[in-house]
């Protein structure tokens, strides 16, 4: 079996940093991401930074959930940005042209300042 997807949220200077770990794939992985973002929005937390440093794998459903989260947060007047992509995840977002959609950061402090 593959590792379970986990999401742990830290709050720094009003920004919710979600440390994701594992695989964002159809089923459990995408559900964890969707529920995490939905729970933040229900608490009126609209500044969300997804830390993907420990995400080993994203399939097309996972990419779709990232996009869906991005639009859901945006539609509620918030911002969802990405932090610390691995090379493979970076390549996936590049080839799908989604690097033109997402704001991506390598440095957490700079990402927090950008909100």
């Amino acid at each position: 079996m593959f590792e379970t997807m986990t999401a742990n949220t830290r709050r720094i200077e009003g920004v919710n940093i979600v440390d994701l770990s594992g695989r964002i794939t159809i089923g459990e992985g995408t559900i964890v991401l969707k529920d995490t973002v939905r729970n933040l929005l229900q608490r009126n937390e609209k500044k969300i930074l997804l830390n993907l440093a420990d995400v080993s794998y994203i399939d097309s459903s996972g990419i779709g959930e990232l996009v869906s989260s991005f639009t859901t947060v945006g539609n509620q007047g918030g911002k969802l940005k990405l932090l610390s992509l691995t090379k493979k995840v970076h390549d996936l977002l590049s080839i799908t042209k989604l690097l033109t959609v997402f704001e991506v950061f390598e440095d957490e402090a700079k990402a927090i300042q950008s909100f």
Binding site: M1, I26, D59, G64, V67, I95, T96, V101
Partner: protein, 142 residues
């Protein structure tokens, strides 16, 4: 791994419960074939995407229908063929997921990713049988 071709085939019910099993088998076979980590990753991704399409869109989770996965590989090439028992779809007219009008859609990227990362790709619909997807990666050798 010698240069002779190896073939492995399995047939599963149309349930996503089997995707990890097929993915693990794929990883074992790419290791046997001597794939480097990048090639193994891309092949694993392609198998996963096409398999999920076959279960979800092809066979529509009908447990009476099956998906057949066949791996063929030698020292130079890793080829996969996946057959479902569905009604097919208009592959030639799939929307371009990179079109600005489609960038914010939450689906429609699976086949695009497979085509992007594989060296060969084909998809045909055989009436009364289902969809057959074939893709292959050439294996780089030092």
């Amino acid at each position: 791994m010698n240069s002779s071709e190896s073939t492995v085939e399995l047939r599963i019910q149309s349930s996503l419960d089997y995707t990890d099993l097929v993915e693990n088998l794929t990883n074992n076979l790419t290791t046997m074939a001597g794939c480097d980590s990048d090639h193994a990753y891309f092949i694993e991704m392609a198998v996963r995407e096409v398999l999920i399409n076959a279960i979800r869109h092809g066979n529509q989770f009908d447990l009476q229908k099956h998906v057949r996965v066949q791996f063929r590989f030698d020292a130079a090439r890793f080829e996969v063929q996946i057959n479902d028992e569905g009604r097919g779809f208009d592959y030639e007219h799939l929307p371009d997921p990179c079109d600005p009008a489609n960038l914010l859609k939450s689906s429609g990227r699976g086949i695009f990713l497979v085509r992007s990362f594989m060296d060969d790709f084909s998809l045909i619909y055989v009436p009364d049988q289902g969809t057959e997807v074939k893709f292959a990666k050439k294996l780089a050798r030092p």
